[in-house]
Amino acid sequence: MKKYFKNILRVLVLSFLASCTSEITDFTEVDRQALISPDYSNIVVPPNIAPLNFKIMEQGSEYVVKAFAHKGKPIVIRSKNPIIQFDLKEWHKLMQEGKGSDINMEIFVRGDDKNWKKFQTLTNHISNDSIDSHLAYRLINTGYVFWSGLGIYQRNLENFDEKPILENKSFEYGCLNCHSFRQNDPDDMIIHIRAVHGGTIVSRDRNLTKIDTKNKYTLNAGVYPSWHPDGKYIAFSVNNINQHFCNGETRIEVSDGLSDLIVYNIETNTISTSVQVSGPSRENLPTWSPDGKYLYFISAPPSSSLDDRIYAKYELLRIGFDGLTGSWGDVDTILSSKSIGKSISFPKVSPNGKYIMFCTSDFGYFTIHHPNTDLNLLDLETGVYREMEVNSDQTDSYHSFSKSGNWFVFSSKRMDGLFTRPYFSYLDENGKASKPFVLPQKDPEFYDSFIQNYNIPELITGEVPLSPLAIRDKVLEDAVPAQLDLSVDTLYMKWHLTQKDK
């Protein structure tokens, strides 16, 4: 009797499996692609990316998706609901086998009339180039003045694991600010803490220190960072930042009354600057060239009124820097705001040194709140710049390259005009970017009800090796004050600050 039931069960299971995988032969073809959300169609994807789960936005009672590459076993998903979630192992197998070729998605939807419809096949290209395995970002609410629970997290891009790097609930809800890595290396990281237990946490080769970069000769503690490729220096801007609330499409303007650049020497715990980057102008957002010989930054004229302050246009400059001696070179203008009629922000040099990716908007540098912010690419060899293909009619702003430079991630509000999401795109050797796609989630409806913002997405080559508890313990310690480098002209800096106070 027991055996009899076992056989029946076996037959049932086999017939169920057969029905799941059997080809649908009787269908009508629909002369368009099925709508899916998020939009994962006609994109280039890294071979190591997590499954691109999606929701089929077509009315139906049953759904079948067949994903296949030129070789390897296709994945067939049959579902009563339009949520399509791929098995992690099967997905990676298919992606690895299909490297360098296309991955196709055949989508069948069974209508209420019980008839199947087949939509045009969705095709994505699987790149040969992998993307860095992790993405680090801060998750913040949309409040502009207050904050509560904040955290910097790392998401494994090869699956759906998200782990905290540091959460502010572990240190009395202080403010967690910018995080930055040296050339995508998770071993070398800095994090700013403000308000409670303030200071800058520096992790170099997994050794943690906490420093206070505020000095009586500088405007403020370091704000926007960039780590020198050789690991010895970190450039910061020092800013006097204010917010101005607005009516209209732009909800808030963030502007600096004053800003300068400083360079922190990790080995000597000293800060240096130069008259050329601590001048009357507002120097900001430093970023190193991959060879470390230049520090790129943006600069706007000094402000004498609120209008000047907010509506100024920033241009792109660079200054030479000798990493061996720590001495400064000359300043060059790379791209002037006058020549492009826009304000330049967030410059980042590609790892091969060929391009600079930057944001443009009508004015200012804090572009995330400007819907007209776009990404641009400047060819450093030809000096030609152009707007990138990835832009949308909403904000497309902060960006970071992968270690190889083939991939980049950027912040975009294209989904709903309010919440910032990370999008990825492939940059080919000619500087052409592929259609961007949003960070995949296990639940394809995730973004429909997620109301936090992904802030400062940074690609890193692995998981940050330090535990949140180790970082927290360092946060709870007192910060070590950084000293001013003896080469800095303190008389000038004092005078400079008094001029700015005026």
Binding site: T142, G143, P164, N247, G248, G417, D448
Partner: protein
């Protein structure tokens, strides 16, 4: 068989529970806890996950589930009493397990009811404190039962229960458990090593939160040891009162009493030879009736004192005002403000809103002492952290969606799941035609079981956006909402923009003129006063007339667009009398103040001379004023 439920002791406990329910429902009013704390519970896995990574999170999660029903006053009161009674019953159950039926069972139950109720007089009291304690009592009871039945396994069970309890309900619950179980253990063991084992229990309980902090959890050290945890928003930070600590100490104290009762040798029977008198006295005091009566009296007296000490009608009235304001019951707002004699900026703020909605603002603006000037209309940004929701409400009333949204986002950052804030964000985005965003916030609200109806009603606007054109509120706000891109330069700028945007926005117009009056900016006032006919105003309201007279007196001219008859003769005469009183006091304003107050204390003239913060310098000491 006679049902024991109807025993006199049980009936007394039942009476105490009914009394507690009555006090909670009518005096405390749990819906005001809900109003202040915006307890929100979302039925999805992500919400649960947020509570799973820190000690006490699960108890917090359960407390949010229960406390959302505080929205319903009587149901909320019932739930509070029900959970208190469970603690009392379990405590009684444990004493019975340990020493059998006791004469003090009413007292045990009543103390839990008393302190469990008293803590609720503080509207900041977070309900997780009660739920965490409930976990501690439950676990203690479980240990007691296991220990008595299977003493061999009790060590193992203790460590498992202690560790689990720490995860579920955090450090203080663990301490309650540890102390209570130590007394249970000492009471039930006679071997010599019992003190060593009891010490080990206590040591483990003391160390576990530290070890959790050091090696496992990303919580702050204090949060693992304190009864109330420190988390944003600061405006809801709760400082435990003595009664809270007593509430947490009740079970260990009761079990300590049980333990002590066993180590004190039983009194021997009183020898007859000692005399008749003593024998009678002893019997009387041992009678159950006396003992119960004694407990009733003690608990009643203690309750009277504790309730009197804890009850703060000012806080209750302030919250009631805010509740009525949220419900848009403006007359009730004004009625409730009358119960508050001291100046309070929240009364000022909501009073002005209510007057404006009732079209009474220009007439009755100075009925309330406007000690903060314009900050009585718009809460100062420095104080707005605790008032971001009501600031958003005001801008919504005025029709300024940009600022309403700004403050709603600030509030949502502090209280991410508050249904009140999420509803506000839905409405703003419907008005701004951002249907995708409205849908997103609706989707989150849909997870809140108290908001299902509201979500259903508003989802139709997203599925058929044309329906928004037939919703009078949405249509009106769209008309009033300024779309011109500007940088906000302050409240005056916002009001001017609103007035320029729509000439139907009477509230904005009233607020603008009131703003100028409170700012004693008569030029600005006169500049906009001339538009009053556009707003259907036939005769000038009192404060406007009073200000116009001052303007005329100061400039010796009647501004063009105004005929001299626009001001009522009675007002002119009153102003003359007002001026005469000052002259009678030799123009000595401080001396004239008392003489003027009784008759003119509610006039713009009096405000201008005596209450205006530019005169009193009140804004430099705002904190004291509020």
């Amino acid at each position: 068989m006679k049902l024991k439920i109807f025993s006199s002791g049980n009936l007394l406990v039942f009476a105490a529970l009914v009394a507690a329910w009555y006090v909670i429902a009518t005096v405390i009013s749990p819906f005001l806890h809900y109003q202040l704390q915006q307890s929100a519970f979302i039925t999805d896995r992500d919400f649960l996950q947020r509570f799973s990574d820190y000690p006490g999170g699960i108890a917090d999660y359960c407390s949010l589930f229960v406390s959302q029903f505080f929205f319903f006053n009587y149901l909320g009161s019932f739930l509070i009493v029900a959970f208190i009674s469970i603690k009392g019953l379990l405590a009684i159950r444990m004493t019975r397990m340990l020493i059998g039926k006791s004469k003090f069972e009413f007292g045990i139950s009543a103390l839990f009811i008393l302190f469990g109720t008293v803590v609720f007089f503080d509207y900041l009291y977070p309900y997780y404190i009660s739920i965490r304690l409930l976990f501690a009592v439950l676990f203690t009871w479980a240990f007691c039962a296991v220990h008595l039945k299977y003493p061999k396994y009790s060590y193992f069970v203790w460590f498992v229960l202690a560790s689990l309890l720490f995860y579920l309900a955090s450090g203080p619950a663990l301490f309650v458990f540890a102390l209570s179980t130590v007394f249970i253990y000492l009471k039930t063991n006679t071997n010599g090593s019992k003190w060593v084992i009891a010490s080990a229990f206590a040591l483990f309980a003391g160390l576990l939160p530290y070890l959790g902090f050091k090696f496992v959890f990303q919580s702050s050290f204090e949060n693992l040891y304190k009864i109330s945890i420190m988390k944003p928003p600061a405006s809801l930070a709760y400082t435990p009162e003595v009664s809270t600590y007593v509430f947490y100490s009740l079970l260990p104290l009761i079990l300590l009493g049980v333990f002590i009762s066993t180590i004190i040798p039983e009194r021997k029977a009183v020898p007859v030879a000692k005399g008749k008198k003593a024998k009678v006295k002893s019997k009387f005091f041992q009678r159950e009736l006396f003992v119960v009566l004694f407990q009733v009296i003690v608990v009643s007296v203690l309750g009277y004192f504790l309730f009197n000490k804890a009850y703060n009608p000012l806080k209750k009235n302030l919250l009631t005002i805010e509740y009525y304001a949220e419900q848009r019951q403006w007359k009730k707002v004004l009625e409730t403000t009358k119960y508050i004699e001291e100046y309070d900026f929240r009364v000022n703020f909501h009073g002005a809103r209510a007057l404006s909605h009732l079209r009474l603002l220009p007439d009755q603006l100075f009925e309330y002492p406007q000690l903060l000037g314009t900050y009585g209309l718009f809460i100062d940004a420095n104080m707005a952290r605790s008032a971001s929701i009501i600031t958003s409400d005001l801008y919504f009333d005025l029709g300024y969606m940009g600022e309403s949204q700004h403050w709603a986002f600030e509030a949502q950052t502090l209280l991410p799941d508050s249904p009140r804030i999420l509803k506000r964000l839905v409405m703003i985005n419907l008005i701004n035609r951002n249907y995708l965003l409205a849908e997103k916030f609706l989707r989150i609200l849909d997870g809140n079981m108290l908001c299902c109806d509201w979500v259903r009603q508003h989802k139709q606007f997203v599925t058929d956006t044309s329906l928004t054109n037939s919703d009078s509120l949405i249509v009106e706000k769209r008309r009033f909402n300024p779309v011109k891109p500007v940088i906000n330069t302050g409240d005056e700028g916002c009001l001017k923009l609103l007035v320029e945007t729509s000439k139907e926005n009477r509230m904005a117009y009233d607020y603008l003129l009131s703003f100028y009056l409170l700012d004693t900016n008569l030029r600005g006032f006169i500049e906009y006063l001339k538009y009053y006919p556009l707003y259907g105003v036939k005769t000038l309201p009192r404060s406007w007339e009073e200000a116009l007279i001052i303007f005329v007196a100061q400039t010796k001219t009647v501004p063009h667009n105004f005929s001299p008859q626009i001001v009522d003769e009675k007002i002119v005469r009153r102003f003359a009398e007002f001026s005469a009183v000052i002259r009678q006091n030799n123009n000595n304003l401080p001396v004239a103040k008392n003489a003027l107050y009784s008759k003119y204390g509610n006039t713009y003239w009096f405000y201008n001379l005596y209450l205006n913060p530019k005169v009193t310098n009140a804004l430099s000491k705002k904190a004291e004023v509020k």
